[in-house]
C-alpha cells in the first residue's frame, strides 16, 4: 500500500464506509450518535474559545496578529487583578463550605426523617435552582435590603433605623445571595446520595446503643463522604460562575464581574480574553484534578 493509501486508511478507517462486522457497525453507530453533540461543541464551544485564546495573545487590540503574553503578564503582576483573583477564590470557597455544610443536615432531614409535608419541603428547597442570580440577589434585598422584610421587622423593635440595620448591599448580603443559589443545588446532590445509602447499618448502630451523633459520624458520614466531596466540587464551580448576582449587589469585584467590566468603557478585549482563558483553564484543571485525586462522586 502506498503512503497516501495508508494515510487515507488512518484518517478514514475502512469500517466507516464499508463495515464488515457487527463490531464495525456498532462503532459507526456510536460515532453517528456522538456527532451532533461534537458538532455543537466545536462550533459553539471549541472554536469561540480558541478565538478568544488567540486574541488574548495578540499584539493588536482588535485583530489576531503576532504573539505577546502582555495581557497575561498584566493579570499576574497587576496587584488589582491579583486582588480580584483572591476575592473570587476565598469568597467561592467560603460560600461553598457554608452551603454544603448546611445542605448535609437539610438532606439528612429530608431523606432520613419522616417529616410531615416532605414532598412540599423538597419542592420548596428545589425551587430556587431555576432562579437566575439576579433574582437570588433580589430575594436577599427583599429580606435584608433597605426596605427589606427583616430590616423593617428588626427596626420596629429597636432604636436603630432601617438604614443602619440593612446589609443587603454589603459583602454579607452578597454572601447570603450566593447561598440562596448554592444551597438548593448542594442539597439536590446530597439527597441523591442519601437516597442510595442503605438504612440498615444506621438502624443496627442505633439499636446497639450508638447515639445519633455517633451513628452519623461512624456509619452515615463514611457512606455519603464521596457525595459530599462531589457536592463541594460542583458547588465551588457554581460559585465561580456566578455573575448576575454581582450586578445587583456590587460589593465585591470577582473574576466574572471584572470580565464584564473589561468589555465596558475601554473595551479591553485582550485582557477580557486572557481572563476568560484563565477562568476556563482553572475550572477545567480544578474539576479534572478533583475528580481524579479525590473520592468525589459526581453522578446523579
Amino acid at each position: 500500500m502506498s503512503a497516501a493509501g495508508r494515510l487515507a486508511d488512518a484518517v478514514v478507517p475502512a469500517w466507516l464506509f464499508a463495515p464488515v462486522t457487527e463490531r464495525d457497525r456498532e462503532r459507526r453507530r456510536i460515532l453517528a450518535l456522538c456527532l451532533p453533540f461534537a458538532a455543537l461543541a466545536a462550533v459553539a464551544g471549541v472554536y469561540p474559545l480558541a478565538e478568544v485564546a488567540r486574541i488574548s495573545v495578540s499584539t493588536a487590540t482588535y485583530e489576531s496578529v503576532g504573539f505577546t503574553l502582555s495581557a497575561y503578564e498584566t493579570l499576574v503582576t497587576d496587584p488589582y487583578y491579583r486582588g480580584v483573583a483572591v476575592n473570587t477564590l476565598w469568597f467561592a470557597a467560603a460560600t461553598t463550605v457554608t452551603a454544603v455544610g448546611l445542605a448535609v443536615p437539610i438532606a439528612h432531614a429530608l431523606e432520613a426523617y419522616d417529616l410531615p409535608g416532605e414532598d412540599l419541603l423538597v419542592t420548596l428547597v428545589s425551587f430556587p435552582i431555576s432562579l437566575p442570580g439576579i433574582v437570588a440577589a433580589f430575594m436577599v434585598l427583599v429580606l435584608v435590603g433597605n426596605t427589606g422584610l427583616l430590616t423593617s421587622v428588626v427596626a420596629a423593635f429597636s432604636t436603630a433605623g432601617p438604614l443602619d440595620l440593612a446589609f443587603g448591599t454589603t459583602t454579607s448580603g452578597l454572601f447570603l445571595a450566593y447561598l440562596y443559589s448554592m444551597i438548593p443545588r448542594a442539597t439536590l446532590i446530597l439527597r441523591g446520595a442519601y437516597a442510595e445509602v442503605d438504612a440498615r447499618p444506621a438502624e443496627a448502630a442505633q439499636s446497639l446503643g450508638a447515639t445519633p451523633l455517633q451513628t452519623f459520624r461512624y456509619v452515615t458520614l463514611p457512606a455519603i463522604r464521596p457525595a459530599i466531596t462531589g457536592a463541594l466540587v460542583l458547588t465551588f464551580r457554581t460559585a465561580l460562575a456566578i455573575f448576575g448576582t454581582l450586578l445587583v449587589i456590587q460589593s465585591l469585584v470577582v473574576w466574572t464581574l471584572q470580565i464584564s467590566r473589561e468589555l465596558g468603557p475601554g473595551y479591553n478585549l485582550r485582557v477580557a480574553g486572557a481572563m476568560a482563558v484563565a477562568y476556563f483553564a482553572f475550572a477545567f484543571a480544578f474539576t479534572a484534578l478533583a475528580l481524579r485525586y479525590t473520592d468525589a462522586e459526581v453522578g446523579l
Binding site: 453507530r29 433580589f138 429580606l143 447570603l176 474539576t287
Partner: protein, 299 residues
Amino acid sequence: MSADAPVERRVAPSRRFGRAAVVTVLAATVAFLILPVAYTFVGSFAARMTGVVPEGFVTLENWRVVLGLADTIGSQRSMGWTTLVALPGGLAVQVPAELAFSVALALGGVAINLVVGVPIAYAVARYDFRGKEWVDAFSVLPLVPGVVLGVAFLRAYPDLSATSFGLVVGYSLLKAPFMVMAVRSEFESMDLRRIEESARSLGASWPRTFLTVVVPQARSGILAGAVVCWTLAAAEFNFSYIVYAKGTQPLALFLQRHISNSAFPKAAAAVSLFFCIVVAVTVALQRLGNRGFDAIGGD
C-alpha cells in the same frame, strides 16, 4: 455495656437535641428561601412597600406596567406588545414582546438540545466504547460558564453573536448537559439491548429502530429534559447580558432592568411574573413524574 463500668445515665445530647437541631436548620433554610418569594408575590399587588406591611392593596397597576398594559417611560419602559398572528378583519393576537421573544429563543435552544442531546445520551447509556468516561463527563458537566462563552461569542462571531441565532446556539450549548442527564437517566432505566434486539429481529433497520422504537419509549425523560432546558434557557442571564446588543431583550435582561431601576412593587411584579412561569413548569414536571430539576450547576 459491661457490668463493672459505671452505667451512663445521662442521655446523649445528640439524642435529646440532634433531631430538633437538624429540623431547625431545615426550617430556617426553607424560610430563608421561600419567605422572600412569598413577600415579593404579595408585594407585587401593593401600591407602596416601605414598612413591614405593604400598603395600598389590592392594585394590579404593577402587573399592568410590567406587562406593558399601562403607559410607561424611560427606564421604567416595559414590555412592548407585538403582533403574533394577524387575523383577517383587523383583529390581531398580541403578545408581550419580551415574553414571546424569550419563549421562542428558549424553544430554539431546546430544539438543538434534542438533536444533540438524545443521541449522545443513547450512546453513553447503550454502548461501551473507548473514551466513554470522557464523552460522559464532557456531555454532563457544564464546562463553560455563561460569561466566558459570551466573551468567546463576541470574539468569534461578532456579527452573529448579538442576533437571535447567536443566542439560541449559545443557550443550546450552555443547557445541553441538563438534556443529556435527563434523557440518559431515562435510557438507563430501560432495557435498551432487549428493545433494540427485538426491533432488529423483526426486520427494522438500526436508524429506524432508534427513531421509531427507542426514542418514543423514552419520551417522558425527553420531555422532562426539554422542559428543564426550556426554563433554564428562558432564565439565562449571564451569557445574554454579555452578548446582548440591541432590540427586544431576553426575559432575564428585562428582569434585571426592573430589579435595578424600578420601584420595589414594580420589580416585585416583574419577578413574580417569572415565579409564575417557574411554578407552571415545576407543576408540569411533577405531572411527568420527575422529582424536580436534575441540575448540577446551571448558572
